[in-house]
Symmetry: C3
């Protein structure tokens, strides 16, 4: 995914302007393709559970880790959808900026600002620590799943888009993601 890797080579200076938006002609697979019968007769499904190592509380760019796990699987799909499903209720998955880590830090700042924690918080659910109930709320705000188009064997995301894991607990734990690929 060249749209993801290059920014990682840069230092934290202003981003170059994104490429001009162009209309892309349709990719159709409406009829059985006799040149490629398998594509028409046997749409492919792949599903695997991957484990993300513990990440500290905050937002983390995990696109490289996800691609490392599913990149070779993706290459078998001409057109399809990739679904990522986080198996937890105190962390979240979201798509956001892949370039400046300040964006991830500021997003964590925002989440902590609008979801009260500790003595000022009105929560009844406190048995698992002051960070637990805020973590559940943040998980529903950003959500625990993503669906991303697959085009020509790659995740079809925008130039500046990346996959984030947002860890909302203080104590980092491994997180499980069920990835389901479907397409032709």
């Amino acid at each position: 995914m060249s749209s993801i890797s290059p920014p990682m080579l840069f230092s934290s200076s202003p981003r170059p302007p994104p490429p001009q938006v162009l209309r892309v002609s349709s990719l159709y697979a409406a009829e059985p393709s006799f040149s490629d019968p398998m594509a028409a007769s046997a749409p492919k499904w792949a599903q695997k559970t991957i484990t993300l190592p513990p990440h500290h509380r905050g937002c983390h760019l995990i696109t490289p880790k996800i691609l490392n796990e599913i990149g070779s699987d993706l290459s078998g799909f001409k057109c399809g959808l990739a679904h990522l499903f986080l198996h937890h209720t105190s962390a979240s998955l979201t798509i956001n900026e892949n370039y400046d880590s300040d964006v991830r830090d500021d997003t964590e700042t925002f989440l902590n600002k609008i979801v009260p924690e500790g003595r000022s918080a009105p929560w009844k659910h406190t048995l698992e620590g002051p960070d637990d109930m805020p973590a559940h709320i943040k998980s529903s705000m950003f959500g625990c799943s993503l669906t991303i188009p697959i085009t020509d064997g790659k995740l079809n995301m925008g130039t500046w888009q990346g996959i984030w894991l947002c860890e909302h607990r203080d104590y980092p734990t491994a997180r499980k993601v069920v990835v389901t690929l479907n397409g032709i």
Copy 2:
């Protein structure tokens, strides 16, 4: 879904620790399966509209109700995706904790805290009552649809995950959910 039912037998005491996270080997259906030609040649689609009875304002665990409607359909899918789509703009669907009802109460408390209602609210849209505009905002915050992986005939959710219906209106009404299942 055994991961959903057991917690309902417990009282509101601290949860036992979740099971250790393990890597699960891939489930692949990349090639036509000659032992099960149907799987390869005819991926299955099922779609139905289910009606949820009126729920009072707040967050409600509806996993058992959903499974009661689609459980037998799910059993026909070895690998796939289940999509739930709420037909309304003043309620939402989210995935969160399935064990302690305090988590659902606290989430409702949070929503009411950050979305002003009544005299203090700046809304122009007030024709349908003071709870209507806040309900629309909450609906976009949590969203009206969910996509959940299907594995071996069951929704593949985490041990503590459940499906919530969040009703944002004061006057409860029945809510319609379009469920679409796709897989092999």
Copy 3:
């Protein structure tokens, strides 16, 4: 999509009550259909990238624009899912009320109220202007993708649901949406 158009004929008076909720019998495609072998043997995939013209900062109903691009494609699907994926991190897609533009204005008011901007904001990421970091946060709050059921050749949304593009930047730019259709 008759569920979208009619409201546009009305003036901004209170909405008529929604139609009574009814149970709809299942639409199944579990077995190969010999009356329609194509449906069983060749599920259809269609994918295209559409470009939305620049919209000013705020929430916009874009259902007509989307249907204008994919309506004829949708008509080929008896049952399926439509996935819309916005290629940007400073705008969002959400489903909300399709009738009263005040709802869209109030939603923009809400977003600006809870995400601080300018001198009062604690953001580190300010190189791209005071509206940029708030835009990224709003994008993760509402999300950049939608999945909508397809039934009998149309998007199966509720009577009052519409597709919104929420533009979070001050300077309007064209926005790219990858639309993926899958079904039978």
